[in-house]
């Protein structure tokens, strides 16, 4: 019986990363390394206005004065920033006019990833911006959305066509001085998605960006800016994958969300970057700054994330609750297996009166991985009647992994109610055996248990993503009970 369980274990943990293929396509790359010339070159490649170049240069100079943060519960090997290529673009016309202009190899790639770029092939409810390496390949359903006054395009295009909007909101939530990786991103960001929902408009479909890293030795530094004007609503999805390689690759993105009065933004992520192999070789370093501001009264921002990929994850999608009666939510499932490390959580900053926040974090650790929740709940003096509820649960598979919780609470107002609950549990061999005895295989048993555990978060995802996420959880974890 011993042998049998080992066999299942091996089969599953050796399971191939499904998205590890490389697309053979001509890629335009700039020289390796980082200096002011490179920053200028990236800006020139994109024909950017002067103000944006200035922004990049200021960020770059600031970045040079900064050190990589070391407070996270992560062991990060030294990153050689001069060995990275900061811009790589699949060679094709910059903005394909129609599907016929999109390189067939690119079409095939996204099709293989389950993201066909042809609108008629998509579920009609989802518009996609497909980003490979440093550029947006195609944004679907733009015309349909434009009828409602919704702008959904690549970041580069937004800079060209809606400069005043970009200038108004860029770095308004995450200034380039915010942290090391935000500064780096501000200097070298290449593309990403831009989205603006006008006053009173409920976005009729899910908007999504699919990020794909393809080229070797490159980093991906995308920038996403999402603005929901007064009383607007949008649900936004983000997915990511990368080829299987022995070297680590850096992904340092910035996402900014602005919710004006009465607006609501739901932001969902299924992060499945290549996690590295069983021995911990390769994989993506996912160092991302995501933050939203509930700027207006009664606005709401809700983050939902399912994190299964990346060798190292450093990520804290946060909400600044500035408007009175605004609401922030964070629902997270973070899975680590083999040698993966994750330090992830959220910050809920209560500035306005009657602001409410909810944090539900479910960490699942297996193999030799380390999984940390880190969260800050801050209530300032003026934020009367703020409420927070936090729940942090950790599930351990096997006895060689680690789960950690670092909750920080700073409250300067007597009327605040802040609750924190935490649990740690293990999938026991007795639970597996109980399932086995009812005819359920070890793989399926783990799937049942993990999905049951994560259900509260998965249920927050849009339907299509929920199905995907459920499968992903199972693939990432099966057989990790030792």
């Amino acid at each position: 019986m011993d042998n049998n369980q080992d066999k299942v274990l091996n089969e599953v943990t050796q399971g191939e990363y499904k998205y590890g293929f490389v697309t053979d396509i001509d890629t335009e790359k700039i020289p390796v390394g980082l200096n002011e010339e490179i920053v200028r070159l990236i800006s020139a490649k994109k024909n950017e206005p002067e103000w944006l170049l200035e922004f990049r240069l200021k960020a770059f100079r600031h970045w040079q004065t900064m050190k990589m943060p070391s407070w996270a519960n992560l062991k990060i090997p030294e990153i050689k920033y001069q060995d990275i290529i900061y811009y790589a673009a699949p060679k094709q016309r910059v903005a394909p006019e129609s599907m016929d202009d999109v390189d067939p190899e690119l079409k095939k790639t996204f099709e293989k990833l389950g993201i066909p770029l042809e609108e008629q092939k998509r579920l009609t409810g989802v518009a996609v911006d497909a980003v490979m390496d440093s550029v947006s390949v195609k944004t679907t359903f733009r015309e349909t959305l434009a009828e409602e006054g919704i702008i959904f395009c690549s970041f580069s295009e937004a800079v060209r066509e809606h400069p005043s909007l970009v200038q108004k909101y860029l770095a308004s939530v995450v200034p380039y001085t915010d942290n090391f990786f935000a500064a780096l991103n501000s200097a070298v960001f290449s593309d990403g998605s831009f989205c603006y929902i006008p006053k009173g408009v409920r976005c009729p479909m899910e908007l999504s960006t699919y990020f794909r890293i393809n080229a070797a030795n490159t980093g991906q530094f995308e920038r996403t800016l999402l603005i929901a004007d007064e009383e607007a609503y949008v649900s936004y999805l983000e997915g990511c994958t990368a080829p299987q390689r022995d070297e680590n690759q850096l992904h340092a993105a910035v996402v900014e969300i602005v919710a004006e009065r009465g607006a609501e933004v739901k932001y969902s992520t299924v992060q499945n970057w290549y996690p590295g192999d069983r021995e911990g070789r390769g994989g993506i370093y996912n160092f991302v700054t995501k933050r939203g501001i509930c700027k207006g009264e009664s606005s709401k921002i809700s983050w939902t994330q399912v994190e299964t990929g990346s060798a190292i994850t450093w990520k804290y999608p946060s909400c600044i609750l500035r408007g009175d009666n605004s609401v922030g939510e964070f629902y997270s499932v973070a899975v680590t297996n083999n040698h993966q490390q994750a330090d992830t959580g959220t910050k809920m900053i209560h500035l306005g009166k009657n602001t409410r926040s909810t944090i539900v974090s479910k960490g699942i650790s297996a193999g030799l991985s380390q999984n940390s929740y880190r969260g800050l709940v801050k209530v300032v003096k003026k934020a009367d009647n703020a409420r927070n509820f936090s729940q942090c649960d950790s599930l351990l598979l096997g006895d060689r992994c680690g789960a950690h919780t670092f909750p920080y609470i700073e409250v300067d107002n007597q009327s605040a109610v802040v609750e924190h609950e935490a649990t740690t549990s293990r999938i026991g061999e007795d639970q597996i055996f109980y399932c086995n005895q009812r005819g359920i295989s070890t793989e399926d048993a783990i799937g049942l248990i993990v999905n049951g555990y994560a259900r509260e978060v998965i249920n927050k995802l849009p339907m299509e993503f929920a199905v995907e996420a459920t499968k992903l959880l199972q693939i990432s974890l099966e057989g990790s009970v030792g």
Partner: protein, 258 residues
């Protein structure tokens, strides 16, 4: 005639943590029979249940077990379950977050797959659940909860019998199912077992006490002591044990050994 037995155990020896617990056990169960296995604490009763269901802690060092002509020991725990071996656990396990409905649906459909049948539709499955719940008199609310989570001792045992009804096993092993039950719960559980039984399904009742056997009447009673079956007789043996305790059996067995 090998084939006339549903279960045939020959000279079975097994260890737990390198300590020999079963020391040459023989047992033959025909289809439709109810066997009671009684014995003092530490005699190897639960180890026998572990060996039959493939639980890892028990290592088989010698002997053979055939189930319906198949080499049982070569099958994984889940294969044994799908072949129709069911264990009613002495201490049923809690699985938080996994609903009873989801759990049972997975189990039932795995078994159907094993038999080459299509999975049940959601409505057929729920209908089956309802029927079986009524059959074993289990509170409807229990099956809306997570597997055994927060169940009382009695509820857990009833839930085992409910699962047995759902899976319709060919061989059910009741491991101390009577422990911790009051007399009403005991009656409900025993009635459930009797209603589930079919003419060709067999039951092994592992118990210390006679009282469960008032309701589930055995064809054969075995006394397990020190890793071997030391006495086999009809149901009257259980009554005799109830009256006289185990000491006389221990003395007899120890004398034989000495």
């Amino acid at each position: 005639m090998n084939n006339s037995f549903l279960l045939q155990i020959k000279d079975l020896k097994a260890t737990i943590d390198n300590k020999e617990i079963l020391k040459g056990l023989n047992l033959e169960v025909k289809p439709g029979e109810i066997h009671a296995i009684m014995g003092p604490n530490g005699s190897g009763k639960s180890t026998l249940a572990s060996v039959l269901t493939g639980r890892e802690i028990a290592q088989v060092t010698h002997g053979s077990v055939s189930f319906d002509g198949k080499d049982l020991l070569s099958l994984s725990p889940e294969e044994r379950a799908r072949e129709g071996i069911f264990l009613s656990f002495q201490y049923p396990i809690e699985i938080p977050g996994v609903s009873m409905v989801n759990f049972m649906k997975t189990a039932v459909n795995e078994q159907r797959k094993h038999r080459g049948l299509d999975p049940l539709s959601a409505s057929d499955f729920l209908k089956l659940m309802r029927e079986k719940k009524e059959l074993v008199e289990i509170d409807s609310a229990l099956t809306n909860r997570s597997v055994n989570e927060g169940f009382s001792g009695g509820e857990k045992k009833k839930n085992e019998i409910f699962q047995m009804a759902m899976l319709e096993p060919r061989l059910s092993i009741l491991d101390e199912t009577d422990s911790g039950l009051d007399i009403d719960a005991l009656r409900i559980v025993a009635n459930g077992v009797n209603k589930i039984r079919k003419p060709d399904t067999s039951v092994i009742v592992i118990t210390h006490y006679q009282r469960l056997l008032d309701y589930i009447v055995p064809d054969v009673v075995h006394v397990l002591y020190n890793g071997r079956i030391v006495r086999t007789a009809g149901k009257e043996l259980a009554l005799e044990l109830e009256e006289r305790g185990y000491d006389w059996i221990k003395r007899e067995a120890d004398n034989v050994e000495a």
